[in-house]
């Protein structure tokens, strides 16, 4: 393995975070940068503070705050940001803040690129103060992204915080898989202010790209008559499989004739394509070690044959047992077989968050996929 792709390690700019009153955060940050500039000058290092947006993250308890803080910090490598981590902490009696900064050294350079982090803690009963704190601390006239993996639906606090943000990023896979429609659908309905992003959508990026490739040349014609779609996913949550199915349904303008049905085992639905031909869709939960809960394990699309005619072909994408790569294969009666192996990279939370942060506006394709997924699961 070449070392080229390994990102330089992040180093804290100061030994320990500085505790400050919430009202003194900006002043303390200014002091921190002045101190850092002096220090770096002595060491012959050029420090650059980089801030392209404000990233706000919410942790509902101190236990999840540490991991979330780490994700936010790693994300700053790709999107240098002022990050504000809001922590609901039962041990806190008042609002309290900590400031620090982290830097990475550019390759072949004496330059260090630094981002600042602010942690604000409050007792859960006082969390309603967080939106006003965030309003005070966001970078002027820069985008604000709110990362909250699984916000409670219909909670006014969520909407208050969302009011401050330009985008809300969730992780559909972080919600308990108990419901229809999928949780993102409910958040879409209320999200006029901050469009929605979803880490689970990023997990599907490679699968979507490979599926699109199937129906380019040389198999383009085969896609005109898709008969069957079979999606296998790791138990216990089906949300990723559902979103993939929703994406196919919305992009190909299929209609839901029969929503998904079934119990603990496979779920089946019937759709109709634009010409009125039926498309059989099935979701299959499988228990497999090594794979994260809900991860797509394989997809298979069968085309042609039957009443609709067209080229008979099978297109499959398969995650390998090591969960390190996917194999995409296409095989038809009229065209040569194709096979591709691609590494399954960037599936960690920080990479997926960074990917979602590339887009700051509305993701129309995602939203249509969520709505289609909701329609598919309407009666499940």
């Amino acid at each position: 393995m070449s070392t080229a792709a390994v990102a330089p390690a992040l180093q804290p700019l100061i030994e320990a975070p500085r505790r400050v009153d919430v009202g003194a955060v900006e002043r303390e940050l200014a002091e921190l940068w002045r101190f850092a500039a002096e220090q770096s000058g002595h060491e012959g290092v050029v420090l650059t503070r980089a801030r392209t947006l404000t990233l706000v993250a919410y942790a509902a308890d101190p236990q999840s705050a540490a991991a979330l803080g780490d994700v936010v910090l790693q994300t700053s490598q790709r999107h240098p940001a002022r990050s504000i981590l809001l922590v609901a902490d039962p041990d806190e009696s008042a609002l309290r803040a900590e400031v620090t900064a982290s830097c990475r050294t550019l390759r072949r350079s004496h330059k260090q690129i630094c981002s600042e982090q602010i942690v604000v803690r409050a007792a859960p009963a006082n969390r309603d103060h967080f939106p006003s704190v965030v309003r005070n601390l966001v970078l002027p006239d820069m985008p604000v992204v709110l990362y909250w993996p699984s916000p409670e639906r219909a909670d006014p606090f969520v909407e208050d915080l969302r009011e401050v943000a330009d985008r809300l990023i969730i992780d559909s896979a972080a919600f308990p898989d108990e419901s229809a429609p999928p949780p993102a659908a409910g958040l879409l309905a209320t999200g006029e202010r901050a469009p929605l992003g979803d880490l689970t959508w990023g997990r599907l990026a490679l699968w979507r790209s490979l599926t699109a490739q199937f129906f380019g040349p040389p198999h383009g014609a085969a896609g005109e008559r898709i008969r069957k779609v079979r999606i296998a996913h790791a138990a216990t949550t089906r949300v990723q499989a559902l979103l993939y199915a929703g994406w196919l349904t919305s992009r190909l303008r299929w209609k839901v004739a029969q929503p998904l049905r079934g119990g603990e085992g496979p779920q089946r639905a019937t759709l109709t394509d634009q010409r009125g031909h039926p498309v059989a869709l099935s979701l299959h939960p499988e228990s497999r070690a090594r794979h994260p809960a809900g991860a797509l394990l394989s997809t298979m699309i069968v085309t042609g044959g039957g009443d609709g005619g067209g080229e008979e072909a099978t297109f499959s994408i398969q995650r390998n047992d090591e969960a390190s790569a996917v194999i995409a294969a296409g095989e038809g009666t009229q065209r040569p077989a194709t096979r591709q192996a691609l590494p399954l990279e960037g599936q960690d939370e920080a990479s997926l968050l960074a990917l979602e942060m590339d887009l700051l506006g509305r993701d129309r394709i995602y939203e249509e996929a969520v709505r289609a997924a909701a329609a598919l699961s309407a009666a499940a």
Binding site: A4, Q213, G216, P217, R339
Partner: protein, 519 residues
Amino acid sequence: METLLSERLREGLRLRRQPSPCAVVIFGGTGDLARRRLIPDLYNLARKGLLPAAFAVVAFARRPNSDETFREQVRQAVEESPEVPYDAAVWENFAGRITYVQSDYDDLAGYDRLGRHLSDLDGRMGLGGNRLFYLATPPSVYHDIINRLAASRLGVRAPRPGDPGPAEGWARIVIEKPFGSDLQTARDLNWRVGEVFDETQVFRIDHYLGKETVQNLMIFRFGNTIFEPIWTRQYIDHVQITMAESGGIAGRGGYYEEAGVARDMLQNHLLQLLTLVAMEPPAAIEADAVRDEKVKILHAVRPVDPDEVERTVVRGQYGPGAVDGRAVPGYRQEERVDPASVTPTYVAARFEIENWRWAGVPFYLRTGKRLPKRVTELAIQFAVPPLQLFRQVGMDEMEPNVLTLNIQPDEGISLRFAAKVPGQAIRIRAVNMDFNYGTSFGVEEPTAYERLLLDAMIGDRTLFARRDEVELSWALVMPILESWEESRPPDFPNYEAGEWGPEAAKALIERDGRRWRRL
């Protein structure tokens, strides 16, 4: 050709365009460029999922090799590449697409074998008859290859409007620089290429144009409101374009003795950068609209008068010296270099563009080997403020604003402006505001070749030089080359390795009351 279905599925994906299935045929497949750059970059494109599922690489070269031994050679190159992460599963799949055809470049039978091999691959892999021919050979065999491609019917002219029926697949040709060694040879090569391929099939590659900052130059100029209005002679004092290399000729003495710095760098890279800085906004960001504007600039550059060459162009050759604390030989001591060589390794030139926007604004270009550091930048130096308000506080002359576009090693943009030093007194200091690609977008950038290979497979010619661009650039360089050939330089070597070129280069710009930027 994308289908409606795949277009719908591609909506919202990062790469909206995907190349159609094709075979990339690399002539000079065992050379350094192919083994260390092209094939690792193709592999990396495959690793990123940017290549079509039906895809093949055919290396065509003189050395005897089996598919297996060649794959092993390039596997090692991929593993050793500092820019490409090696993944065994991806490599295994990619390696299965690499094949090798051994032949001399002038042996028609070899091209017939290549044709049969490609037909076989079409049948087995569904490549649709699409071929991208990449000339990664020394230029001396370009004519042989093009002639044999024509004779073997592998190089097929794209159908023109009105031609009967569609052709089976497409054929494109990528040609590495140097594109000719002077205006006449460039015209000859263009003529020969044009007999076999339509201009829409020809991709003349200048890898500098694939670099992120070079492309960002257009975004910077035409995607921001604040810069374009001041991008004129009213506000810009002059422009400096520097391409400095700390390295020597790296064992390429034979080539360099023939080429020299003007052919190697000035005619292509430097003039390409000049056109991008100076061109008018194109009607659209598409191949011919952009290239039309670049060509207009080349037409507007005032050719150097042969009598003026000595005054407006400086040539240099490095002697022994030290770079980065290490003693290095002079050019004449390099391998395969004539000990009395008069080949220039440095050039500095002053150009003027005679159009409404740029009249009176000099463009200073310099490039050379064995300079103190490796750096490429475009610097736009603005005029000083019209009124010297701060003269009473000891500031006779303000430092001018400078906008710098760094192309290598750290791609980014920097703006220098004046700021007050904190304190009671009014003291003014120039400060830099830096934008660094690595800072603001901590993402892995594609290499220039990755981008250009993908563009060639997709058929997007925006970042490739058109025939008229190449010939106009040669026409601008010819008076310089001819003048140099007529008069031997009296003082070579005239700069030490590790210095910023000869003294005469300083005089060239200082004569105008300006100075080279200290880099």
